[in-house]
Each structure stands twice: as structure tokens, then as C-alpha cells.
Subunit: 212 residues, 2 copies
DNA sequence: CATGCTTGGATAGTGACACTACCTAACAAG
DNA sequence: CTTGTTAGGTAGTGTCACTATCCAAGCATG
């Protein structure tokens, strides 16, 4: 198919597709002549994936490229590819270096992971983005004077554990390894707004129940 | 205290504080002379809150202003203030109008809310931001060919329900109504990165358990 | 009281980001 | 042959959250 049809079927404007091509998010099509390229179903599928990551998952364009290309990198083993696909992802600002709230947060999180039995074999300088984001968020909450110690966090951790189990079940349903990687990315990123929206709706619901 | 001290104690650069003042995120201080104003502990507290919402919670500056001022609006009743504080918040793009995936998503979500027993008394044109975000995310997932029907979503919904209960318990621990509003905002917004980070860490953990 | 630093207030500029518009030469289709 | 489309490139747009610079009016210090 031509650019125009790719645009039609994906709902993405042609100018934007060109932009994605420039950014390496999409492979160039098969050149048919000096002024035309042929795109296949693969392009359509990948375009839809990129679009969903960017628009729904709020993943920066550059990161989406990393994630998608890591997912296709045959030189990594399966677990690494699963990890690489999600490792590049979130990243709020890292925790501020030295204030007391940040220290407390670091200790709470370490203790939390121990209690949950998540090894997290890494020195304090090589934390995963998720780990650092967690510390920064806990520090911010503590700084505002709200409770955010291990007791508060544990239930959240246990819920996360259960989510992960059911998510990974879904990943394992995919037969191919490439399919599993993609499923992992989609689940990780696109279920986040689902989870947050449901939590907000539940807040509204529970608040109505209590205060109305 | 003066601007410099406010900056020192909050860790926010003076230029940024001035920007927040311009944007109405912070009340002006008490004018002491033509070139000096006095700020109090309230300013410091509110500045920290705004900063946390913006940096950790990724709330746009304009939205943070809405949220904070809604929280202080005495003309609303308590439930409304709780709602207003969170209603303005997220907002991915609304679901695309008419494609089959969006229709399926709309139906799934409606059915889901019914099964969860969340009333959501609203016509299809007046959905909450969370509701619309949810539909858009589900539509994106469906469009990529992944399962995202009621059976998939129900466990997520039940978890959200439990989170909401424990969150609202925390809110009710605050004695003052203003304190409750602020707690609701903080919990809603700042626990989101906590929840997402924990989920990602749990993914890594569970993935290591299965694929290593 | 002279000097130099700080402040509040205003205006303009920056850099990142995700597009979007426009242009051109080379085709393609009727 | 005319009309339209395409790839490819460059430049512009709008938003956002700051950030830098100026200025005149203090305040503080010797």
C-alpha cells in the first residue's frame, strides 16, 4: 500500500507518518520508484503500536523507537528483551540527593522490597528507572507530611504483585517470542492508563458512598 | 520569610517561584514595602504541594492551579470539593468517534461499570475525564488485537476498588475538611507513580521468576 | 551618606517536544 | 498532456515549563 492508504487505515496523518519515518520509528517502505514506496501490513501494525504508545501511553517518540527496536533485537536473550522493552520507559526526576525525606524514602523502599521478597540485586547507583521514580514519589509524599512508610506501601506492593502475575499470564499466551515481547510492552504501557482511570473512578465511587 | 528563603527551604529556584506567582499558583505575599514581600509557612506548604503535583504528578501548571483553588473554594460542598479536586486531572485524548474498536471499548466499559456496581449516572456526552481516558485506552488495546474485554478488566476493577477503600480511609484520618481535600489530591496524584512503579518492578520480578 | 546587593515586577527568550506546512522534482494515471 | 500523488527535505507552529535579563526601588553596611 502507499503512504496515503497507510494513513487512511491507521488514522495517522501522512505528515506525521513521514515524521515517524524520519525519526526511525518506522522502517522505510520498499522503494518502487524514485517517488513511491510500498508499505505492508507490518508497517501498519507497527505504526498502530507506535501511535498507541505515544498517544495513549505518553511515551516520548525517541523512547518508543528504543523500545520497539529493543523488542526486535535478536542479539538479546528473551528475558533481556522483555526487560529492555520496559526498562527504557518511565522516569520521573530522580530523587533529590541528600535531604532527609529522600533518605527516609530510600530506606522505606529498600525495606519494602525486602518484605515483598523482590531481590533487586543492584547497588545504590544503578537503580532501575521504576525504582528511582518510586523513591522520588515516596520522598515527595513524605515531604508533604503524609504517611508513606512500609506499612502504607505493602498493600500496594501486594496488589502490584497480583497484577504482574495476571499480566505475565497474558504474555505467555502468545506463541511467538516476538509476540510475547510486544504483548509485554502493550500490557505494561497501555494498561497503565486503564489502571489509573479505574482507580480514579473507584475513588469517585467510594467518595460518593461515604460523603453523600 | 523573603523570596530567597522560600526558595531555599522549598528547593524551588526563585525564578520559578516568580513564575508560579504570575500563574496564580501561589498567593502573593504580604507586601512589606515596594520591593519586598513577606511569605509564611502556608506559602511554603502550598509551594511544596504545587511542586510535587507538577514534578512528580506531571500535572500541568494550569491544572494544578484549578485543583488547588477548587480545594480552597468554600462555596462547594465537601463531596463536590473532593470531586472537583480530582475531576480536572488526567485526560488523555478522548476516544476517536466512530471506529469499531471505540464502539467495542465503550460497550466493554459500560458493562464493566455495571458489573462492578459503579453507577456512573451520566449520559454518553458528559463522561468524566477518567471515564473517557479509560475508553480510549481500551480502544487502543483492542485496536492492536489484544484482549481487553470485561473479563480482562474486572480483576483490575476489583483491585482499584480495594485501593480506593484504603485511600479513602487515609483521607478520613484527616480531621479538618481542608486537610481531607488536600489529602485526597495528594493521594490521588502522588500515589499514581508509586503504583505504576511498583507494577513495573513486579513485572520485572515476575518475569525473572518465569523466564530466567 | 555612599555603595552595593536584593527584591518585586515585567518582558522576552530558551529548549524540548510533537507535530505540521510547504516546496520541489519525479513520477503515475487517465 | 494534464492533473494529481509521492518521497524527501526544510522550515515553521504551538505548547509547555521554565529561565534570563532589566529596572527602579529599597535595605543594609561601613
Amino acid at each position: 500500500m502507499r503512504l496515503a492508504e497507510l494513513s487512511e487505515r491507521s488514522g495517522v496523518p501522512t505528515a506525521t507518518i513521514k515524521y515517524y519515518l524520519r525519526e526511525g520509528l518506522l522502517q522505510p517502505g520498499r522503494r518502487v520508484s524514485a517517488t513511491q514506496s510500498e508499505y505492508g501490513e507490518d508497517h501498519l501494525r507497527r505504526l498502530r503500536l507506535a501511535r498507541a504508545l505515544i498517544q495513549i501511553g505518553k511515551v516520548p517518540v525517541a523512547t518508543a523507537r528504543e523500545v520497539i527496536s529493543a523488542a526486535e533485537d535478536e542479539s538479546l536473550d528473551h528475558h533481556e528483551r522483555l526487560g529492555a522493552a520496559t526498562l527504557a520507559l518511565p522516569l520521573g526526576p530522580g530523587p533529590a540527593g541528600d535531604d532527609p525525606a529522600a533518605d527516609a524514602a530510600r530506606r522505606s523502599v529498600t525495606e519494602l522490597l525486602r518484605r515483598l521478597g523482590w531481590p533487586c540485586e543492584c547497588g545504590p547507583d544503578e537503580l532501575s528507572p521504576a525504582h528511582r521514580t518510586l523513591i522520588a514519589a515516596v520522598a515527595a509524599i513524605v515531604r508533604l507530611g503524609y504517611p508513606c512508610d512500609v506499612e502504607q506501601l505493602l498493600p500496594y506492593g501486594r496488589l502490584a504483585e497480583r497484577l504482574a502475575v495476571s499480566d505475565l499470564d497474558l504474555v505467555e499466551r502468545e506463541e511467538t517470542r516476538a509476540g510475547q515481547i510486544e504483548a509485554a510492552v502493550v500490557l505494561t504501557v497501555l494498561y497503565e492508563p486503564v489502571l489509573l482511570s479505574l482507580r480514579r473512578l473507584a475513588h469517585a465511587e467510594e467518595s460518593a458512598r461515604r460523603f453523600l
